[in-house]
Amino acid sequence: MKKTLTGLMICVLCLPAGHAGETTPSIREWTPAAWYETMRLKPAGDATRGARLAKVGYCYTCHGDQGVAPSRNAPSLAAQNETYLYKTLLDFRSRLWWADHKDDGMHALARTFTKQDLADLAAYYATRKLPTIRKVKKGDVHTEKLVRFGDPSRLVTSCAACHGAHGEGGVNEVPRIEGQSYLYLKRQLTLFKEGRRHNDVGAGMRFVTEALSEDELDRLARYYANGQK
């Protein structure tokens, strides 16, 4: 008994300290069970209502009118996977997704919406059209390989297995990644690798990015950015 207690105490001490000045309450990460239950209970989204919320919620100031971001500072949301959008907003609201101060705005805003609001916003952005992006030069052979086949020697699943043949998104919460800005994709991949973004169900993205080198992540970000800076 005594041994167990000491062990527990050591564990408590091991917990990573939060950023100075930031109170980071411990938020439970997604287990597949919790996530499937959340998906099952997701309210049906109303895109018309979502359009109105996007306006009063000032979403357009960063994510652009119709969800096409005007700058590299925020991702485009148009034609994004609806379930992913809903989940992302939930994660910002609970602060499970909080990598650094850049996420403060999303945290502050997401807290002001109900779950129904979040579902409506997700429905609105999911039904917006993404402008056609001219296809640019493909990646190098190594990157293509990672995209299509992964790297079994490092237990790296191919990107396409989940995110679709062209990065258009997949089942459940797997987002569209094609056509986001390079800067955004690179930041997310790095945050996953460093574990600072940890809202991926079952630590899927963290598992993959941990095995990949910084250079590989950089090339993958360029590959999926498809010319978007």
Partner: protein, 428 residues
């Protein structure tokens, strides 16, 4: 691998090498700027002076080895940040911006001999002197109040530090249903929305831990900045204006001015002669220019230091600039942001004098934020110009009261962001 001086020279050029050297090794003929006070004004001046000019010798005279940022310190009261989070040192000024920091108190100016005398007996020579002492409190404006009481059970907590922690302890350990009195000062004073922000933060904490407690703001003014915003929020969250209000506000037109403190009876006496007993009394006294400005005759018989409104040279001596809260720079408000803008401008004036370049026309900005809660923020921006021999307000943009909860929350996150980036601007 260790770099020697020659390597540094090869890599970055002579400028970098001379920056890395202690002051004594630099050319003796380098012009000297001495800054009295290492607060926001003084630190900003040292940093931006160095950014503009690599040759000038910069000395900061500041007795405290650390500086506790005042903006953001109300958040200490509701446990959102700690004093440590707000504490910075002068290491960056020393090492990144090559300023000499003398940890002594400046006591006297020898105007004729161009020297500042310090408490340690040093004579520090200057070509330009910038004085940024901040304000001091007029305790005697409230009869019975004193500096000793402020350091004891009646903290004003208007300078972040031990008093902030004391105030926090006092109001958080109050009996159930206790009363806090906040006496807000008349204009001008440092950071006009802060008493109301303080009341809001305290109320948020009390609502969770001591829900029958009350906060009474006794004001020496008839109105205050962001009044409509705060009253909106208080109505929404704290029953403002009802019989069960957690926050009450009494303006000077209703006799809210606090005239006297009876510390033994824990009672304040207002202009009306009303005696109000409270568990915690937080008197924020009126202010005037810091002691150093009075001791050195810079105030010329006034409460604040008269300056030339174009370049902030004091009326007493054109080689002495005065900036920050201590300067009489109406219609500029007394905020750290304004102090930092004055500092950046004075750096341009001095650089202009050294190089013969005309610094042009100044544009000063005040960017100021306040919060009512973590879901309600406010912002104000004023721009000032020099026109017709005086400072004029060019434009004011103020966050109007809004009932859009999303906008209010967004403004709160902007306010937080402002605090972080402003701290970094001055001390990194």
């Amino acid at each position: 691998m260790l770099l020697n001086r020659r390597d540094v020279l090869k890599l970055f050029g002579a400028g970098a090498a001379s920056l890395a050297l202690p002051h004594g090794a630099r050319a003796a003929a380098a012009p000297r700027l001495v800054i009295v006070g290492g607060g926001i004004g003084g630190a900003a001046l040292a940093k931006y002076m160095r950014i503009l000019n690599r040759d000038i010798h910069i000395t900061v005279i500041e007795p405290n080895p650390r500086f506790i940022f005042c903006p953001g310190s109300n958040e200490v009261l509701n446990d959102e940040v700690s004093i440590d989070d707000l504490t910075v040192t002068y290491d960056t000024l020393r090492h990144r911006y090559g300023a000499e920091v003398i940890q002594e108190r400046a006591v006297e100016i020898d105007y004729a001999g161009h020297h500042v005398l310090t408490s340690g007996g040093r004579r520090v020579p200057y070509d330009w002197l910038a004085v940024s002492p901040g304000p001091q409190f007029i305790y005697e404006a409230v009869e019975g109040y004193s500096e000793a009481l402020a350091q004891g059970d009646f903290p004003h907590a208007w300078k972040a530090g031990p008093q902030t922690l004391r105030l926090k302890k006092l109001y958080q350990s109050m009996r159930p249903g206790g009363v806090v009195v906040i006496s807000a000062p008349p204009m001008p004073y440092r950071c006009p929305p802060a008493p109301y922000e303080r009341a809001s933060f305290m109320a948020a904490w009390l609502k969770r831990h001591n829900p029958t407690a009350k906060i009474l703001i006794l004001d020496s003014k008839p109105d205050f900045i962001f009044q409509a915003n705060y009253e909106d929020y208080w109505r929404d969250k704290f029953g403002y204006g009802t019989d069960h209000a957690m926050i009450e506000w009494v303006g000077s037109h209703e006799g809210g001015t606090v005239r006297q403190l009876d510390p033994a009876a824990h009672t304040v006496i207002t202009a009306d002669g009303e005696r109000i007993r409270a568990d915690v009394i937080n008197i924020i006294p009126p202010e005037k220019a810091g002691r150093f400005a009075f001791d050195t005759g810079l105030t010329l018989g006034r409460d604040w230091v008269p300056v030339n409104p174009y370049d902030f040279r004091s009326r007493k001596d054109p080689n002495v600039f005065v900036l920050g809260d201590a300067a009489e720079a109406d219609p500029m408000v007394k905020t750290g942001y304004v102090a930092s803008n004055q500092a950046k401008w004075i750096a341009q004036i001095i650089h202009g004098e050294m190089t013969g370049r005309d610094p042009g026309n100044p544009l000063w900005t005040n960017n100021c934020v306040a919060m009512a809660g973590d879901d309600y923020g406010m912002t104000v921006t004023d721009t000032y110009r020099y026109h017709g021999g005086k400072i004029v307000t060019q434009e004011t943009l103020i966050a109007n009261p809004s009932h859009n909860p999303h906008l209010n929350a967004l403004r709160a996150s902007i306010a937080r962001n402002w605090q972080r980036s402003f701290r970094r601007d001055i001390f990194e």
